[in-house]
């Protein structure tokens, strides 16, 4: 094959390039449109006040309901979406665990299986966590439960976003 570009090749490349450019001009907006959810930034997550006072929190995990504002596309549920945290005192500090199982996202409960006293239990695949949220080795979860940020303001418990590991 000669290195020289023939007239025919030149035309093919030019036509192909132009067609490709025009085609991309058409396709790019549509692909960007479809990919938008991947490229959107998530909400920051603010602290919300709960109905619990500081002195109600003990060493025993307490299921604390709270509501966070979410925006699900065009759908903004009134009063926010319900969330739950398992809140307890541990070594003098407040620990608020997310109930979302680190295996595949089911919901864990405190002592919800009578077989496993003093542990969080996930019914989906028998995942278990110790009281401080650490996963029990040998059960499906491979990471400890997520923790929420917390603060006490005017005696009330406030819950914030999930702590970054």
């Amino acid at each position: 094959m000669s290195k020289k570009v023939s007239r025919r090749q030149f035309l093919t490349y030019t036509l192909g390039g132009t067609a490709g450019f025009l085609g991309m001009g058409m396709l790019f907006p549509m692909i960007r449109f479809a990919a938008d959810p991947m490229l959107k930034k998530g909400g920051k997550g603010a602290f919300v006040k709960t109905n619990y006072k500081e002195d109600q929190i003990t060493e025993t995990p307490l299921s604390v309901d709270f509501r966070v504002d979410v925006k699900d596309g065009w759908y903004v549920p009134e009063g926010g979406e319900p969330r739950t945290a398992w809140v307890m005192k541990s070594e003098g500090k407040i620990l608020a665990l997310s109930p979302v199982c680190k295996h595949l996202g089911c919901t864990v409960g405190w002592e919800s299986n009578p077989q496993f006293k003093g542990e969080f239990f996930c019914p989906c695949h028998f995942g278990r966590y110790f009281k401080n949220g650490t996963n029990v080795p040998g059960t499906p979860p491979t990471k400890p439960l997520d923790q929420y940020e917390t603060k006490i303001e005017a005696g009330h418990l406030w819950i914030g976003p999930i702590k970054k590991a």
């Binding site: 396709l27 907006p29 549509m30 449109f33 938008d36 596309g73 065009w74 759908y75």
Partner: protein, 223 residues
């Protein structure tokens, strides 16, 4: 590289004759704008097809966000148009493309009419073309309701009342189109189904027939 892949496939599946059949055919001098510029009028059919392809593509993408029901329809359109990147462009393609498709189709019809191309032996293809025209009008009509704004609502009411004025079957027709006694919750999913499944399927079938016939009979001769 590309050539090697093509060769590999071609050796096994013998695709060359297929695409030769589809793409490799003579363009007579009287329809080639490179010879007589006025021959551009022969492009309208192809342009209509091109716009229809854009409609199908942009419609597929819009369907990723659109929800056909009375509560979410308008909200989802507003969301995809104002909050999703390039939403204005993609919805704009579908919105303006709808009008352009009808205009192109009309110009194509005029060309066929004034060059007498519908005459023997191409009468059948003229009829197929008229059916395509009705399909496109149906697509325009059903698509118009989907944003569920005031214009959509009242345009559909008017359209359905026109259908209702048909003698004898009018009221049945209106109830069928509405899916009930009024334009509302049952109408949107029905129009959506027609707009994205039934009419496009019919349109593609008719287009295939249109193209097979034109390949079989060839483009009509010069004036």
């Amino acid at each position: 590289m590309l050539r090697a892949v093509y060769k590999w496939v071609d050796e096994r599946l013998d695709v060359t004759p297929i695409w030769r059949d589809v793409a490799d055919h003579e363009v007579p001098e009287h329809v080639n704008p490179a010879h007589h510029f006025s021959a551009f009028i022969y492009c309208f059919g192809g342009l209509t097809f091109f716009v229809v392809m854009i409609q199908i593509l942009s419609g597929m993408f819009l369907a990723m966000y659109y929800v056909p029901d009375i509560i979410n329809a308008h909200a989802s359109v507003k969301y995809l148009q104002t909050e999703v990147a390039m939403g204005t462009i993609v919805r704009g393609m579908h919105h303006w493309g709808a009008s352009v498709a009808i205009v192109m189709l009309f110009l194509h019809t005029l060309r066929v009419f004034f060059t007498g191309s519908y005459k023997n032996p191409r009468e059948f293809n003229w009829i197929v073309g008229v059916l395509i025209f009705f399909m496109m009008l149906g697509l325009g009509f059903t698509g118009y309701l989907l944003p569920w704004d005031n214009k959509a609502y009242f345009a559909t009411k008017v359209g359905i009342q026109i259908a209702e004025s048909v003698p004898f079957i009018g009221s049945y027709l209106a109830t069928f189109l509405q899916g009930g006694d009024m334009v509302g919750a049952t109408t949107i999913p029905r129009f959506y189904a027609l707009h994205v499944f039934f009419l496009p399927a019919g349109l593609l079938g008719l287009l295939a027939t249109h193209f097979i016939l034109i390949r079989r009979q060839g483009i009509s001769g010069p004036l």
